[in-house]
Subunit: 310 residues, 4 copies
């Protein structure tokens, strides 16, 4: 196991708990079992299965490149990180030139996976998948294999499936969030956290994300402790790009992504432009930058009417 | 129990299974226990609790109006249908003038509720809620009351919460659906139903709706038996209207609603207008109505290039 | 002319410049020609044409109600304000009961209409339209009547057309604004105002709104003087509501409206909920409310990778 | 002038009308002035200015590569096609290695440009722009240079600006189209083409695209001759991709692009999935594929109500 952060560290523990022998490597000596990738290779008998769990992009590509010359023919590398699926074919080809197999595996479950098991989507050749199956079985949730693991297709399919999974996740989260906001805005709902908790069982919208929202609202019923600032980590963007490449309309997932972009803007150049246009044609109220106040932030549209709005 | 359709009929069974005495009325004599609302009132000792489970709008309003003169002071009416929350205050006022109480209750769970229990969101005065609590407890899923029932607020709050629930439901369904389509469009994913089933456990996107999608794909792996035609039943529309009234942005839920509208259009006047514009300024290819063919339906954008697109 | 604000005052001038006799009434004595509606009626010989140009909603409805008892049979009232079209039939019926005609007229052109003329869309019975035609001809731009005036349909059609006009306007403005923001975000475009000005002639996107954006950027090349805060005045909301009533998908116009809603939020409850969810499942960075700093506002997605994002 | 299609052919004419000596090359001998690129080079005295107006992507890249070895140091190549801006730096570097200059120029105006002039956005080094200025001046509309031409920035900026221009164009067209559809759906508007024509002057939404819509509706008042099928030619897709790269929210332009994608789908896999889900949880009506009919295509939501929708 290469990379012992929140995901990799937990996965090492889950694998060990299932009886697997695991050697972990991480640049931080306090969590690492070995001092280098070479030492990691030396600590395992061939044929090895090496799980890479490091940040996507450059770090993962570099790790794979190092493994190509550190491992031996017959070994197998699994990239379980959030790599873009387009990295998989090059990685597989590089390793294949050294006789090393490659599987990409999307992993979902977050910090809960250690106990619950991780949902897994793997891409690669059937013989490689089969060899790694004991690892997958240890990582996935207990129960039917088919409900926590899929061989999604050839190399790249695992990360592609994970990318789509995360795109869906963006849409799901935004849907709940919009409902939360609308109930918060209503005078009628006097117990928003209670309503959301009541959706936990029996309803059509029950889900694990809903359970997490219930938990969050128990800690902070109006989410006063948080700012409405939301990062994104690539998969949502890639999902839209992939949709564009295939001419697939994704109005919901793209709206969820754009809402995150907007959430991180202190000021919107686009909305400045709209304000400028309204001022130009109608002399509408705008907010000038600076310490001075604004024309008021109210839910109702300005009455505008005959005198200014036309 | 007034209204013994798929929902009301199942709820009668669930209530009886919990030991409640239930008299059901439905205009269809083959399912009804009594021949009229008057007979229903006569069959129950006062104070009665009458659950109305008929189509929203006119039918529910008419039923409530009839009950106002059929029931007695001290009785309680619960509207468990999908009424718009704006109907609740008038209904409550009408009944109150006759000394009859009123509670609105959003009910979620579909045809599965008979066995799983129904998620419930109620609006009304505390004493009315309390009186109806044994009924709510019989209908909701077993387990903690708070996970299947909420007293959401005053009269109207139950239907408001149910409206938001359904709005969220639109967004969730569309998010899964977009992900399904993108995987279908990809050459990489060779087992789309398998990937979706693998999300059942451990992943961030696991949910009851996902489980239903897994079931649907088991029956029909590419959904070949269905058309992409999706009805809507009011709550999604009301959710958007309510958001507009409160100046709450709902990009995801509105996109989901509009996707349903589009799905029902054999032909889009808007897209005709776009086609007309492109033809006007660039001589771009359009599809003329009629038996003749089209310029080809391909994923890649037309190369257009220097010669036509500008 | 009742209501001598920015619109009504300018229209009085334009009508007088065209040789019409106009008596203006406004509650502000410094701009009003008469002291009351009764005095206004007395100052004109029957049959009168009275143009109402006051804020929509209550003020317009009240003015019409007053005119119903102030004017005489055979007179004609034109509501040129931004009333919702659903107000028109009640207004017409009220006046009709007194033998007074009614026309609703959408007016576009803003503060520029005094010199350029106003685009007009009228609803009402043909004989009423015909009687008011000299007024319409004086207000509309010079040139072909058909290019600045339409009899859109029966009572209500004028305001309906104006509502749609404004809905389109929201979409157009947002489209330009998004393009502006993208160019601002790019390192490549060194002269954003110059590019936008270069679109003024010959291009597909040339328009009056574009000309106004050019003017605004001349005054303030990066719009530093403005905040991205944009009000809305009803028509955009009504357009969406009308679309919902007709099951017409309006993804662009609704997105433009929601962008305005978002622009006025100091904090988004929805995005707080998304942040809360991400924190729950992945331990992702969030911004806590308060004076402390944020995890950085950057364009690139956080690398996240194997350690945290899953 | 290389490439004598609808754009290049017209531009050759406009340049000649302005007194420029132009040699045109096209693979179709019936429109070409010379038989090959070599012959074209031979027909012009150095230093040459060569305008490339061929389809974007491979054809343009190939043409530039050929010119690199056909032209001489000191010559200048202008790519006026719809190339993606990311092609420009490689093209410029390739030519620079041969001492040849490069300018990218976005060109807008469609088939109308021959008479109206073309809106131009150029990217490149100042000395190259200056050398080409007589060409730009002949192609752009008459009037102020700044209103039809901009030096947008370094190499790539011209095509970047054109890409954004086209993205905006998508949004503008969709906004008008949505308004058209809503008026078509309304019973109130009895003269939709008349209303749209009345917007031609004085209104806030007047534009060249609106004028084109007026023309289209004169030919076909309800657009019965067209199908709602709309192609896209790359720039809209690139605009979204660029926005994603810069974390810029583009809700309107993306909605317009997705509407085009949807317009080309005979059947939507996503909406099949939503239909499947509704059937699973509620037994809702779906449309089975095949000759049998549908549950009716109506504007109003199905009453659903208590019996099925929950």
């Amino acid at each position: 196991m290469i990379g012992l952060g929140r995901m990799g560290g937990n996965m090492r523990e889950r694998l060990r708990a299932a009886g697997h022998e695991v050697v972990g490597y991480d640049p931080r000596p306090e969590v690492s079992d070995v001092a280098s990738l070479a030492e990691l290779a030396g600590a395992l008998a061939a044929p090895r299965v090496v799980w890479v769990m490091v940040p996507s992009g450059e770090p993962t590509r570099n790790t794979v490149a190092t493994l190509a010359t550190t491992l031996e023919p017959g070994d197998l590398v699994i990239d379980g990180g959030n790599s873009r699926y387009t990295d998989d074919q090059p990685n597989a080809a590089l390793l294949d030139a050294h006789g090393i197999g490659y599987v990409d595996c999307g992993v979902s479950g977050g910090i809960w996976g250690k106990d619950n098991g991780y949902g897994l989507m793997a891409g690669g050749e059937p013989e490689h998948i089969e060899r790694a199956m004991p690892v997958f079985d240890a990582l996935r949730p207990e129960g039917m294999r088919e409900e926590g693991f899929a061989h999604a297709g050839p190399v790249g399919a695992g990360h592609f499936a994970k990318m789509v999974h995360n795109g869906i996740e963006y849409g799901l989260m935004q849907a709940y969030a919009e409902g939360f906001e609308l109930m918060e805005a209503s005078e009628l709902i006097t117990d928003v956290p209670g309503v959301i908790q009541a959706w936990s069982r029996g309803t059509v919208v029950r889900s694990w994300l809903l359970d997490l929202l219930v938990d969050a609202l128990k800690e902070d019923p109006r989410l006063d402790q948080l700012e409405g600032w939301v990062d994104d980590s690539g998969e949502g963007r890639w999902t839209i790009e992939e949709a564009i490449a295939h001419a697939v309309p994704l109005p919901v997932i793209s709206a969820a992504l754009f809402a995150r972009f907007s959430s991180r803007q202190a000021e919107s150049p686009a909305m400045k432009a709209v304000a400028a246009l309204r001022q130009q044609f109608g002399g509408h109220a705008v907010k000038k930058s600076g310490p001075a106040g604004a024309p008021g932030d109210k839910a109702g549209p300005s009455s505008g009417g005959g005198s200014t709005q036309q």
